[in-house]
């Protein structure tokens, strides 16, 4: 209860200070609108914003699923072949360390002219992929060597070794990476929408960009609130999934 109550009280205090500051200060509305006007903008544009939020969420989730499939698949390939790992891992690192903002325009030129959403998914996938690959690889290497010996001694097949030993060992690592990658996928989707601009993307980031161009700061805040809520929902969905799947540790 305290865990929910304390941040809630902090948020209410922040909104109160914000309200007082705007009401009694001399800050122009286009720099910092009041909390009430942000709330009004949210209600007035709820349909448009929710529709855009749905598009951003769709891109984020597709990218995340693609990141899980590719990250887990590649980590498995790494665990089976050191040669594959040595060949491909450096490229994965290059993708990770290169700022996504600098890759995004290129992806949009290559893929996004006719299929903007495809480009957005690829950019969001690029942001989400590496933590899953890195964590899953670490998880597959974290097998208890003595348990591995027992599986050998009792004649386990390759499939049994994977499904009953490697996969459950790697599961906590994968779930931890999902909490990080969920946020990264959303960031990737937002960056992609910003870079795409008005080129066909109509997600939440584009709405924020549009509102910014028109100096509708309260609408920008409304979009930001929805983005934050989406990020928090993704994060806590994975926290709940982790708690359920790893309930044996409770």
């Amino acid at each position: 209860m305290k865990r929910i109550l304390l941040p809630l009280l902090a948020l209410l205090a922040l909104i109160f200070v914000w309200h007082v500051w705007v009401a009694f200060g001399t800050i122009p509305k286009f720099i910092l609108p009041s909390p009430a006007s942000v709330f009004t903008a949210l209600l007035d544009n709820l349909c448009t914003l929710m529709s855009s939020a749905g598009q951003t969420l769709r891109v984020t989730l597709i990218a995340l699923v693609a990141a899980v499939l590719s990250g887990v698949g590649l980590a498995l390939a790494f665990s089976l072949s050191r040669t594959v790992e040595m060949t491909i891992y450096p490229f994965a690192v290059i993708l990770q360390v290169t700022p996504i903002v600098s890759i995004a325009p290129l992806v949009l030129i290559w893929v996004g002219i006719d299929h903007v959403e495809r480009a957005l998914v690829i950019i969001a996938w690029l942001a989400a992929f590496f933590p899953i690959l890195a964590n899953m690889s670490a998880g597959l290497r974290a097998v208890d060597p003595h348990l591995g010996d027992l599986f050998t001694l009792y004649g386990a097949t390759r499939w049994q070794r994977f499904w009953r030993l490697l996969w459950p060992t790697a599961m906590p690592y994968l779930l931890a990476s999902l909490k990080v990658s969920g946020g990264f996928a959303l960031i990737g989707a937002v960056v992609a929408e910003f870079v795409a601009g008005s080129g066909g993307a109509t997600g939440l980031a584009w709405r924020i960009l549009e509102a910014s161009n028109r100096l509708q700061t309260e609408k920008m805040f409304a979009g930001l609130i929805l983005l934050s809520l989406m990020g928090v929902a993704i994060f806590y969905s994975f926290v709940a999934l982790e708690r359920w799947l790893l309930r044996y540790r409770a």
Binding site: H146, L147, D149, L150, L153, G155, R164, P168
Partner: protein
């Protein structure tokens, strides 16, 4: 039951031989301890016997049928995501034979003093209880030979005594043989029918404690045979170093 002859083994990345001509026998129903300082090759001998390592030279012979053995490690090596029952059933479930053996697994758990613990997860068990599960799992495979690699080293003295008693009781009932690696002279003297002292990858001495197993534990531990076994094995360890 088992004859190991002239076992030589060297880890590829290591310097020098880990085992350097180890030969010994284990008879059916016999507990043989391998005793020696750290790094003398005791655990390597166990892994060679288990077939987890292949000797560079020498051989291990099992005269009667297929080898049936189980391994108990110093850490319990339980699957944290599986219940106690699922852990105990592991040797059978990997062979697809666990379905109708639940009752047998529950009986094995009862035999190690863990009745009613079947649905718990390892996370909820103490160190001693985890080790009991590990032993129950090893026995579930129906071994002729049990390989124990310092299984009680991490336990406190009182628990260690209890586990020693439990192991002897189970052996009396089930009749398996055991190859037992330990650092403890007292444990080796109490548990073993024979003690093999190892040094620098070789067996440097052998001693038979000859305890009267019909007597209660405290009488065995305070008997002349026990104190003499401890003294003699300690002497063997010292003089060979």
């Amino acid at each position: 039951m088992l004859t190991a002859t002239d076992l030589h083994f060297c880890y590829p990345e290591g310097e020098g031989a880990v085992t350097n001509g180890v030969s010994f026998e284990v008879a059916a129903g016999e507990i043989v301890s391998l005793l020696g300082p750290s790094g003398c090759g005791k655990s390597t001998v166990l892994r060679l016997v288990a077939g987890l390592l292949q000797p560079d030279r020498g051989s291990i012979n099992w005269p009667v049928g297929d080898k049936r053995l189980s391994f108990v490690f110093q850490d319990a090596a339980l699957m944290p995501w599986a219940t106690v029952l699922e852990n105990v059933l592991l040797p059978l479930s990997l062979k697809g034979k666990a379905g109708d053996r639940t009752e047998a697994a529950l009986a094995k758990l009862a035999s190690v003093g863990l009745e009613g613990y079947d649905h718990r997860y390892p996370h909820k068990l103490s160190g001693g209880q985890k080790m009991r599960v590990s032993i129950a799992r090893a026995l579930m495979a129906g071994p002729e030979l049990l390989l124990l690699d310092e299984p009680f080293a991490a336990l406190d003295e009182i628990l260690r005594f209890q586990m020693n008693e439990m192991l002897l009781k189970l052996r009396r009932k089930q009749g398996w043989a055991a190859l037992f690696v330990t650092h403890s002279v007292y444990e080796a003297a109490y548990l073993s029918d024979r003690i093999l002292v190892m040094k620098n990858g070789k067996i440097s001495g052998e001693f038979n404690p000859k305890l009267d197993r019909d007597k209660p534990s405290f009488e065995q531990r305070s008997s002349k045979a026990f104190t003499s076994a401890v003294a003699n094995v300690s002497k063997l360890l010292e003089t060979r170093q």
